[in-house]
Symmetry: C2
Subunit: 414 residues, 2 copies
């Protein structure tokens, strides 16, 4: 790792770049709103292209709008890719996604400063619509790039505001000519904030991310009977809300029974007609289950569905269920995960391993090339929140570990 | 009861009058929408005034829009009043309220047919905005009539559609000159559908209503912390939805512990932000508690609040509560209740006693004059529903009992 050790990043420059993006789509109270393919996202994209060009990178935009800036290597062949995204949720922070992209820019600039040409090309990528907040599904650009999602279908997706994705892409001038799927890199790396409280709680600076939890989203609709809250004796009720409350608590109990890393969340619970003096006729809820092991996740979901059936039946209600999402767990490349851990420890950083509870662009590359991620702490575990924060020293540490492993890959044997 | 026994009602005419009102504001699938002071309500009111005039009644409209048709007695002095309402909820049935008014019209017509002049005057009243579906609070016209609600304040009430009540009253031509509060009658009687399943389940034709349950509405707001459903370990969550689910089940358990007639209903439960992959930050729910005894209702509410505090605290959430409504129980006149029971049994009807779980115009009169109600069964307990139904024979039986008791009062000593 001779070359690696020589590369010095500039933490102040990294932070200034982050703040530069933070001014684009800035919200009055802090944070940003750069929903995918809005004018704010266009401004962020144009700023990114300008930054890449200023660093001498060759910029390409593909048909789904992914932006890639490539720094020439001594040899041709697939690049080492550092990627993430610059789109945000409606009330996003400064770090989610953007950190990974600006860390790539900082590495490119540090290589320029050191006047180094690496053996392999370095590609820095910002993928379209990672958040999925305006257009579903999320991780769209990376999914299309790696052939997991169909380009035509994605261009036809209609957003929450009725806009068609392909139209918006053309409108903001980011429908590029590069083909999709795109070329698979030699390796893929991504630096991201944890978006959870584990690193902070355990006093760690860095996590080598072992993979991404599998995600199962189930929508449950419970049909009871609405009736007058005053005139209907308790024993004659078919209260959809009571069944929903029981299922909500059953989901939490399931997570406690299975133990970590199973997490279960009821984020949506709607009653109809939703009046103070009317027994709920229907309830709709969603259960978000996540686990790193596919079989365990399948077993947990089956158990929850069985318990929900019992709860609904005991309340005299009918249950129908629908799968809204079902992503199997993704394992990152064990050798690359180990290399991240080793590099972080070599820098004297408090380092652990953990799976990601959230989805990331990296998971789209994992089936096709050696892939891994670096996590830095999120203060109080907050993310998708304007109060999202990571200490500057931790940002710098994460970027340095990313740089160390990236340069090793850039110089390593093919 | 010589006079009483002589009065023969015409069940077909009663039913035809009900169906006549059912054509006003009729919904495509059945039932009616005559929200208070809408054009449909105006059409119902104009129809009622015409019917009263055709029967030779003296029609007055007061400043809150209550319509009263009076049939002269042999003596002056306060009338025996038969009242209810003709406004409806948005998806109302044919019977709720309207039955009580058309039963009064049928009694007046039967008196005309028999060419009888009773000792006391008979007043038939339709009160404004009993339902409270467009303008809050409910039982508004009867409340103003009996001085429990302030006329000026009620005229200024803004509805769910932004309209001001007094403006709407003037617009539809039903802002009358008669003063409010109005004169207290010698006695008040009301025939109404049960709006619950008890009579049907117990195989009864008639209930002598003993009073109206006290009602306590509490809004609870639970403040937790939103966080990522994938990245936040179960043990580090402050999930407002879990606290809400616990309180929902605690309300039902409370009703089971206290036993009948306590009923507890969570009709509203809203989560925010309400996204599948976000732990709920806040939950808002309402608890509707009802009981016939004021002290028991107070104790039940206090116990629920204490349990809600514990549930919220155990989930790391903050609870705030607000009383939305607090109506003490109303007891009807025991002698009049007994007279209804006796009259019904004298007709060979299967008769019981029960409190009303719903509020009625009668409760506004109960503090001021002898008051009681007659209930007839609601098929499947359905009300506030276009499928609301009562068998014709049961409608006729209820009207006959009402007539028997009314004529007894109309002829009785002051």
């Amino acid at each position: 790792m001779t070359v690696t050790a020589a590369l010095r990043l500039d933490p102040a420059r990294l932070r200034a770049r982050l703040e530069g993006f933070g001014r684009i789509g800035a919200l009055p109270g802090g944070g940003v709103c750069r929903l995918a393919l809005t004018d704010a996202d266009r401004a962020g994209r144009d700023h990114l292209v300008a930054e890449m060009q200023a660093l001498g990178l060759t910029v390409t935009i593909d048909r789904i709008g992914n932006i890639t800036g490539t720094r020439q290597g001594r040899e041709d062949g697939p690049p080492v890719m550092i990627g993430s995204h610059i789109d945000s949720v409606a009330t996003g922070g400064l770090y989610d996604g953007t950190l990974g992209v600006v860390a790539g820019l900082e590495i490119a600039e540090a290589l320029n400063d050191a006047d180094l040409t690496t053996r392999r090309p370095l590609a820095i990528a910002a993928f379209t619509n990672e958040e999925g907040a305006r257009f579903a599904p999320d991780m769209m650009g990376s999914g299309v790039h790696q052939g997991a999602l169909d380009l035509g279908a994605m261009l036809a997706v209609r957003g929450i505001d009725g806009a068609v994705l392909g139209d918006e892409l053309a409108r903001i001038g980011h429908s590029g000519p590069a083909p999709c799927p795109g070329p698979t890199p030699a390796a893929y790396l991504e630096l991201h904030i944890e978006q959870g409280p584990v690193l902070e709680r355990e006093g760690l600076d860095i996590a080598a991310v072992t993979g991404v939890q599998g995600i199962s989203w189930t929508e449950m609709t419970i049909a009871g009977q609405s009736n007058h809250a005053g005139t209907t004796p308790m024993g004659l009720r078919r209260d959809a809300g009571l069944a929903a409350a029981r299922i909500t608590l059953a989901a939490r109990a399931l997570a406690q029974t299975f133990g970590p890393p199973l997490v279960a969340t009821v984020g949506v619970l709607e009653l109809s007609p939703g009046l103070t003096n009317v027994i709920p006729e229907t309830a709709r809820l969603t259960v978000d289950l996540r686990h790193t092991d596919a079989d365990t996740l399948t077993r947990a979901r089956a158990q929850l569905l069985a318990e929900a059936e019992v709860a609904a039946a005991e309340e005299g209600c009918a249950l129908s269920t629908r799968s809204l999402a079902d992503f199997p767990p993704v394992a990152f490349d064990p050798a690359l995960v180990a290399r991240i851990e080793t590099a972080a420890r070599a820098r004297g950083l408090r380092t652990g391993r953990m799976p990601s509870g959230a989805g990331h662009d990296a998971q789209m590359f994992a089936p096709n090339c050696p892939t891994a991620m670096v996590f830095v702490p999120s203060q109080a575990g907050l993310s998708h929140n304007i109060a999202e924060h990571t200490e500057p020293a931790q940002l710098a540490a994460g970027a340095q570990v990313l740089a160390d492993v990236a340069l090793d890959l850039l110089e390593g044997t093919p």
